[in-house]
């Protein structure tokens, strides 16, 4: 039995405020195709008396943590955080899905969920001249796990390095010293491991004297900004810094990129942190780019399904991934490029384009990759 004390849980998570309006489920991108129903989950907990059984609740692993539920709730209840806490209760009892187990163990041992050796973390940057943070720099560039190891996402990190060096930004990286931010660890329910990771990273940042930090991934950005205890470090996503460089003309684009581009808002940048304009400002600043919008954009952006540990999980999910719907929406705009600013979105959307055999019509690119073409 996987029983939790549901009355205490409901109080701690403010679930008694719920008025069962169903906005969470009505907006949930996974509710349409899986068993996940955040509104009903809350109701079942409330009426369970004091014992709620988590046994067999596979749908808890369907949540992508996109935060649509929370952003729509008129009573400021956060179903997403409740799901994460329920995952924690399951993980605490040692009931971890094998795929998740591998990712968590790898994060614990190697500082990344990808089972890659720690010492290879700085390999992508060997042929580039990039300062180490320990030598002193204004900004810490926190690269992140997939940009460090995944060849597709390494392109993004290299583009950011080129853009920022050209723009005269004084930044340093941690290379082999860098370790996972813990965002997905926390969202998979491993609260204990997350706390440990956060403590270690805090010490590391302090040790290298980081006062300002920017990230490749909105997931790392969000977790440093919102999940870590206050540390006085100014945390930004790279698109925010880049938009500043473009606006202040510290970075001049000399080439044209004659493409129609549509931009997919990553959940952790948009819905979680209300950053909608900066990536668009960068794209608009690139000569030749024609920016078009999908119907579902900004607050209505459809999750790609890459968050909340969904890179390693299936849950009760049938075949069609949200990313495939999303790519279809991008194709409907007639855009040549589907731009985004998140490594997970980049990978999932890329896969969806291949799945739909649309490689000849649509390219998935990070904002930085498009911007670097204009230098």
């Amino acid at each position: 039995m996987l029983q939790i004390e549901s009355r205490q849980f409901s109080k701690e998570h403010g679930l008694f405020a719920c008025i069962q309006c169903g906005k969470c489920t009505g907006g949930c991108p996974m509710a349409l195709k899986t068993k996940l129903n955040p509104r009903m989950l809350i109701y079942r907990m409330l009426v369970a008396g004091d014992g709620f059984n988590l046994e067999g609740r596979e749908e808890l692993w369907d949540c992508t943590t996109c935060s649509t539920c929370y952003s729509r709730c008129p009573k400021q209840v956060n179903p997403m955080e409740a799901v994460i806490a329920l995952r924690s209760a399951i993980v605490e009892k040692g009931r971890v899905h094998p795929n998740v187990k591998t990712a968590l163990e790898s994060t614990f041992r190697h500082g990344n969920p990808l089972t890659m050796p720690r010492e290879d973390r700085g390999k992508w940057v060997e042929d580039l001249e990039v300062k180490r943070m320990a030598d002193g720099a204004e900004y810490l560039y926190f690269v992140g796990c997939s940009p460090s190891y995944d060849p597709r996402v390494q392109h993004v990190a290299r583009a950011i390095v080129r853009l920022f060096q050209q723009g005269g930004v004084d930044f340093g990286i941690l290379a082999e010293e860098e370790s996972c931010c813990g965002s997905e660890v926390r969202r998979l329910g491993e609260a204990g491991l997350f706390e440990m990771i956060a403590e270690e990273n805090q010490e590391l940042f302090k040790g290298v004297g980081a006062g300002k930090l920017f990230t490749t991934s909105p997931h790392c950005f969000n977790t440093f900004k919102n999940d870590y205890p206050g540390n006085g470090i100014q945390v930004q996503h790279y698109t925010q810094v880049l938009a500043g460089l473009v606006e202040q003309r510290a970075l001049e684009f000399s080439k044209k990129v004659e493409k129609t581009v549509t931009y997919h808002d990553p959940c952790y940048l948009g819905k979680h942190n209300n950053i909608f304009d900066e990536p668009r400002d960068v794209l608009r600043g690139i000569p030749g780019v024609k920016l078009v919008e999908m119907d579902r954009s900004r607050q209505k952006s459809l999750c790609c399904e890459g968050g909340g540990g969904r890179m390693w999980l299936e849950g009760t999910n049938p075949g069609t991934r949200l990313a495939q719907w999303r790519v279809q929406e991008a194709l409907d705009t007639g855009a040549d490029i589907l731009a985004t600013a998140c490594p997970f979105c980049l990978v999932t959307l890329d896969e969806a384009v291949k799945h739909l055999n649309a490689q000849d019509r649509l390219r998935v690119m990070d904002v930085a990759e498009i911007a670097v073409q204009a230098l």
Binding site: I19, Q20, K23, C24, G26, G27, P74, K75, D295, Q299
Partner: protein, 448 residues
């Protein structure tokens, strides 16, 4: 600055701020009791929100038919001095002896000469190009206008934000409005006038604002022409409105209509936690109107709870459902485009399933909020605001018209959302409280 002084004719006098149904009712009651009333309204006409409504629930009385006679009464009552297009700028003194300064904004039209014929508006070069606030933006007017045909006073006003001459300093070789006016009423040299008045009591009836659904971008208001507010629907459904009662979107009569309740009400995330009290019944009424005007259309109302608490309300809700209006429990989460339709996404919480409902008209039941400038009015009169932003009453049950400042009384929605019957009752209570103060002042006069 010219400051004239009001003449009370040796009687105690009251100042009523706001010329909606609350201010009109309070002014009429005080004036009928024999006291002098200054009724100050900042827009060009009295009438307020009620004048924008087509029918009123649950009896389906025509709103204009029951309101217009009262508007006419305040316009010609011997004891009421109607000061439209005017604002209170200063208040000093205390109960029994307030001094107030009223700013009379220039209409650029001499109201003693204007006969309300409208030739100026026809001639105006911006005719049909300025958004009509009265019609909630669904029609256009000229830069010289009356907000609606039943306006009191029925005189024209030049909109200083739109008028080509007033914004740019020139308007062709001659003034088209001036040339058209055979009464010689147009005077573009008018300036602000100030009027100082002495009053013994004040009734605040400044009303409410309506939630702008752009604050909930997931509904696509302002993006999809199919998505409108209840106020826009009201103007469209009004027989005397810009479409003569014809409900039309993108040039055709809607076949699938969805109403969404609680948009900008009961919503902590927007800082608008209160229930607006009128939307449940306003939607029931509009669903009835849609059923009536759009034969055969599918009409769906998405709701969280139906609050039908007033006299005849539950019976009206029964009637509307029995006409075939479908009530589905669940508050929609978003609206997306799907070909020529929009799709309303919700959970039908009674089915426990997410649903997607196609629509060619979606009406958002926008909530009431405190006036955007409630705080500055509060400062002017030393009033307090409740946590919800409306003016605070002395006691929430026993003294809802007393403001905490002796001699200053609250009437209608400035104290909190109310429907029309409750507003009128509240206004009559405020008038009664003001009358006690005025009568006492009179007694003092007599015994001195």
């Amino acid at each position: 600055m010219t400051t004239n002084s009001g003449d009370n004719g040796d009687r105690p006098a009251a100042l009523v701020i706001g010329g909606g149904i609350a201010g009109i009712q309070a002014a009429l009651d005080i004036a009928d009791a024999g006291f002098k009333v200054y009724l100050v309204e900042r827009s060009p006409s009295v009438g307020g929100r009620m004048s924008q409504l087509d029918k009123t629930f649950p009896t389906l009385d025509c709103s204009a038919c029951i309101l217009t006679p009262k508007m006419v009464d305040v316009g010609r009552h011997a004891n009421i001095e109607l000061l439209t297009y005017s604002e209170v700028t200063e208040v000093s003194g205390q109960a029994g002896g307030f001094h107030a300064v009223i700013k009379q904004k220039p209409r650029y039209v001499d109201i003693t000469k204007c006969r309300g014929c409208g030739l100026c508006a026809e001639a105006c070069r911006l005719s049909g190009r300025v958004i009509s606030e009265f019609n909630a933006g669904i029609s256009r007017r000229a830069a010289i206008y009356v907000p609606f045909p039943q306006a009191v006073p029925l005189v024209y006003t030049v909109d200083p934000e739109a008028c080509v001459y007033l914004t740019r300093g020139v308007c062709g070789k001659t003034f088209k409005c001036k040339d058209a006016c055979d009464a010689g009423a147009i005077d573009l040299t008018q300036t602000e006038q100030y009027l100082g008045i002495d009053v013994n009591a004040i009734v605040v009836a400044t009303g409410f604002d309506v939630f702008d659904p752009k604050g909930k971008p997931e509904f696509g208001y302002g993006v999809y022409p199919e998505v409108i507010t209840t106020l826009e629907f009201e103007r469209m459904a009004s027989a005397s409105g810009p479409t003569a009662g014809k409900i039309s979107i993108n040039g055709h009569a809607p076949r699938k209509v969805v109403f969404i309740q609680c948009v900008g009400s009961r919503d902590r995330s927007l800082g608008l936690p209160n229930c607006s009290r009128v939307c449940c019944m306003a939607v029931a009424k509009q669903a009835h109107l849609a059923h009536d005007r759009l034969p055969g259309a599918e009409i769906t109302v998405f709701y969280m709870d139906v609050r039908a608490f007033g006299k005849g309300f539950e019976e009206f809700y029964d009637r509307v459902r029995e006409e075939g209006v479908l009530y589905r429990r669940g508050n929609p989460s978003e609206i997306n485009r799907c070909g020529e339709y929009v799709v309303v996404r919700a959970e039908d919480t009674l089915l426990g399933e997410p649903v997607e409902v196609e629509a060619d008209l979606v009406v958002l039941a926008v909530g009431m909020l405190p006036r955007y400038d409630a705080e500055s009015v509060a400062n002017l009169l030393h009033l307090e605001l409740s946590t919800d932003g409306y003016f605070r009453e002395t006691h929430p049950k026993l003294q809802t018209v007393e403001s905490g400042i002796p001699g200053v009384f609250l009437a209608g929605c400035c104290q909190g959302p109310k429907d029309i019957p409750d507003t009128v009752a509240h206004a009559k209570a405020a008038a009664s409280a003001a009358l006690i103060s005025l009568a006492r002042t009179g007694v003092c006069h007599a015994t001195n």
